[in-house]
Amino acid sequence: MIQRIIIGGSGGQGVMLLGKVIAQSAMLEGKQVTWFPAYGAEVRGGTSHCMVTIADSGIGSPYITAADTLIILNQPSLGKFKKLIKANGLLILNSSLAEAGRQTKIKVLQFPFTGIALKLGNLKVANMIALGVLVAAQKTVKVNNILKVFKSMAGAENPKLLEINRRALEEGLQLNHG
């Protein structure tokens, strides 16, 4: 089993963090994993992305040229990465800030992550709602491992921060069930 995920959005949307949470959770499950960031002059407002590969055995290239899953949080990133998704791949899209257009060869799950995050009271957790959708759809990693990772992250020593991320994840899990 090997799963290749590209996560794209604008600088400040927590694209790198989302990738790291997935990578750390996969590590807790004893899987092989690589996390590879865009490391150019990425700035808040510009596009930013990372590539996460999860596998049962050794991973060759950490650089992804054909993705099983795309998580896209803004329109410019969709333009940049939609050509890299495999046929029958999954696109998880933030419909608050991007439009999928007509897609026939891939599966699309789109929800207004940014809008939902605002309702939860923190714009920045749109990324974790998207993570909930990913996990509900593909069982990429286990929810309890994600919660462990949340707890281990330095910023999450703050109980309010931990709680809002947990709620965002939960919200995402529900979306895909609904």
């Binding site: 790291k20 590590m27 960031p37 060759g60």
Partner: protein
Amino acid sequence: MKILLSGNEAIAQGALAAGCDFYAGYPITPQNELIAYMAKHMGAGTKRSPGPSRIFVQAESELAAISMVYGAAAAGARAMTSSSSPGISLMQEGISYLAGARLPAVIVNIMRGGPGLGNIAPSQADYFQATRGGGHGDYHLIVLAPASVQEAYDLTQTAFDLADKYRIPVMILGDGILGQMMEPMQLSVQKIKTAPVKKWALTGCRGRKPNIIKSFFMREGGLEQANLKLQQSYESIKQAQIRFEGLFLSDAEIVVVAYGTMARIAKGAINRLRGAGKKIGLLRPIGLWPFPQKPFQSKARRLKYLVVEMSYGQMLEDVRLAVEGRHPVEFLGRSGGGVPSEEEIIGRLQRML
């Protein structure tokens, strides 16, 4: 317990574990996480990083950094610097001096695109510079090329030991992908190693004859003698310090030769072709100097090599020298930010089969 670290951080962590007590560097992408990690952890016993007091300097330039490393090494420290391609070019004068003065040091090059200021994309185009010396004069560095975050951590510790053992600068040669990529790695809980006692070091000569560290030999015959000593040392390194990984070599009809990140991409391609019953093997030099020549002395009748690099053919020359015309050697390479993909490698191998 495993932790998730980037290659840059793993090298820094490896240096800390090896007892590196002096670091000087100047920032440059794609190795900034390394200098940042050293800045954070080299200081005296913080809560996060207990341990001896160590010195960290963000130098004003690469030339200053390598010269500080020269000074610290002469004084007996386990000294290190890191940079990326254009910065390593700036350090060549100092590296040649380190070699000439027989000073141990660890130099990390996380390669980016060149020539010139190039770009920040991953590259392997500094192979010639690393393995042929780089600066002026008859000298070599030991060059180690990790292919994973774990190996980056492990080989950095090896680098410090080899540097002290042979009194030679050792280079860790990685690329932007290795530096930036995060992977789980095992942080072996080991005591911080301390450098061996260095009787030759400049530690103050009260009660003993002064030691002299220099690379300047004006007396007639003096330099030749010093250079012959260097050559002797290189000879013993060539005998004892050969490192490579072989995969499926026993029945391979085509052997892919690649190092560092390129080797893991090649491994992905090879595993896919093996799954389809194709007899492809991998030879991954881990030490680039000295280069592992023996594994190329195969007597197999049907054997071809494919060298894959993020350059237009540098290690290729070492492979050809090692194969000595016994077997065909083909090449696949991209540079300037291009990274040969698993698919490109598979395509080429299928044409060769």
